[in-house]
Symmetry: C2
């Protein structure tokens, strides 16, 4: 606390990311990173770009990267916004598209950064409870609002909403922006990008941190109607002219160009997830059906926080959210074969 | 314009950075980039970090980089904030430290991003005219204010304010935050970082884009009292957990570690600047004394915009600001020997 702070700073309740401990031999299943490295073509492309050109500013509009993403999803470059991770993209969305008189809506169990953005930009929000099975009921969103946002699949539950449900929501809600936050969509869902040319109020965000194994490079994007993208560009150009560094841009393009690596690794994650779900179900865990690279699990006989603590003592970190409705759940990232095996063996020793 | 935009978006007047044209053989003297490449140790360090670790999120607190910068300037890590370029650092400063009832103050001729940030965060500002010789008169800032900011050396003039003048200003102004934006300080000034332990309301920002030749990597920082840094951390953690990507962090540390390369290249820029000032003075140009890696020049017989156009036709880009008081000036970045020579030859053909 300081007299020098802007008044709003005192009231902020910042987001707390999963920890990034520097411990050897840790099985790190707490931040939904991809267990597989980025494509070798990505690392090669980065290395080839590390030279004297780094003295120059990057393209402030990131046109090459945006065109690459546009081509991949068959939209126009003017429909693509890129940011320094999808968290930055979301921040600009909250400021540029969600500051209206009515409160915005999001699920009571959802990405915990959303209320933080609301605090930063003084946006009113109202949470909409998930159903008892943690599903999103689109009819619950039929109320006046300044915007709607949720992850699909939802986080931290992993549960998917179908594209037809999303289309239904959009049909009912045409006067405010609907943001589908698809950080995990590549692990089992159909992207709502297919709907952006039908609904001018639909914005879809994605990231290269999960399915494209580039959490370390910080790249996210939004796709929607050019008018929505224009708002984000105006905010970005009033905040930071050059959010995407030269190497991140090169990495992103190379990642979209190596489709076979992307398909192979995401399928491996999906297969591992399904195997883990089967095995942990056998061990008595209740698991929310997951379309993500993580599973959200509880066990009728175990206290979730105590189990998380035990796992940690055994060198396996998972994420526990000490919050209403989900305090008895753990969110566990799908690792590679060895990591998953290690988790299963540690779990088998828990009594 | 769109019904979906937050009302504030309609009113934004975004910053326009100098262009980054993709033209061969262009002499690019318009965005104050360093003519020399980053240290070979920097490019080596980056290349060594390009591997499977990119699948992991970076340290959200960027502790290693902050400690490295803290050691370099002999302050504590808690006195160092890092951001995705100093533009992002400045944005967080405006939001976190400048949103008060009183208007903030900055010079009428200054970094043109400042009023843009004010628009984004709805901060009132009042500009304080520079003296006729474009110098900052600290006595002009003796008025009630919500904060004070200016670049030192100032941009786009290049004129330096002495450390004793800054100390005088701080002595007079202890109830609001004073930000000294030292993007260009390494090219000829004394840093006000020397004063941060004396004045709890002083914040100094710097960048690795200019004197450390890393514009392409996007790294800036602020140094000041831990309470001021805490405000920036709270804003950052409410905006984007991981603004600094893994490679940028490595690049920044390597840059601070290669002191001899830094000293050599900045001295080369200083020497070139002084030589350019001498030669252009001989050609009849009036030049504001510069402590930066650019010079701000006018000529009694030439129209600045016409000259800029001529230079461009000849393959040399400089920056012209079509604004009050400075419309007859050009800001010219100091290039390497060949670039400077090319500028001089083109100028010698102008009539």
């Amino acid at each position: 606390m300081s007299q020098f702070w802007s008044p709003i700073v005192h009231k902020l309740d910042p987001y707390v990311p999963g920890e990034q401990p520097q411990i050897e031999d840790l099985v790190k299943l707490n931040t939904n990173e991809n267990p597989y490295p980025p494509s070798p073509k990505v690392t090669k492309a980065i290395v080839e770009a590390v030279d004297e050109r780094l003295r120059l500013y990057p393209d402030p509009q990131s046109k090459a990267l945006r065109q690459c993403i546009a081509d991949y999803y068959q939209v126009d470059m003017e429909q693509v916004f890129v940011g320094n991770g999808s968290d930055e993209v979301l921040a600009h969305i909250f400021q540029g598209l969600f500051q209206h008189d009515l409160p915005i809506l999001f699920p009571d169990i959802s990405y915990s950064f959303y209320p933080v953005y609301c605090g930063l930009y003084q946006i009113e929000f109202q949470t909409v409870p998930l159903a008892a099975d943690f599903s999103i009921q689109v009819s619950d969103y039929q109320q006046a609002n300044g915007g709607i946002i949720f992850p699909n699949p939802n986080a931290p539950t992993g549960r998917l909403l179908s594209l037809s449900d999303i289309a239904e929501l959009l049909g009912q809600n045409q006067t405010s922006v609907v943001v589908i936050d698809e950080a995990y969509i590549d692990f089992g869902g159909e992207s709502a990008i297919a709907l952006v040319n039908q609904y001018p109020n639909l914005l879809v965000t994605q990231t290269l941190s999960k399915s494209r194994s580039l959490a370390g490079m910080r790249l996210g994007y939004a796709i929607g109607h050019a008018d929505l993208i224009a708002a984000l560009v105006r905010v970005k150009d009033s905040f930071n002219s050059y959010p995407i560094d030269s190497l991140a841009s090169v990495a992103g393009m190379a990642a979209f160009e190596d489709e076979s690596y992307f398909q192979k690794t995401r399928q491996q994650v999906i297969d591992s997830r399904d195997a883990m779900m089967a095995k942990m179900t056998e061990m008595g865990f209740d698991i929310i059906p997951s379309a993500a690279n993580f599973i959200f699990v509880s066990h009728p006989e175990y206290d979730a926080m105590a189990l998380a603590q035990y796992l940690r003592e055994q060198g396996v970190i998972v994420r526990h959210f000490n919050r209403d409705r989900i305090a008895q759940y753990l969110r566990i990232t799908i690792g590679d074969k060895a990591q998953n095996q290690r988790l299963l063996s540690v779990l088998s020793t828990y009594r």
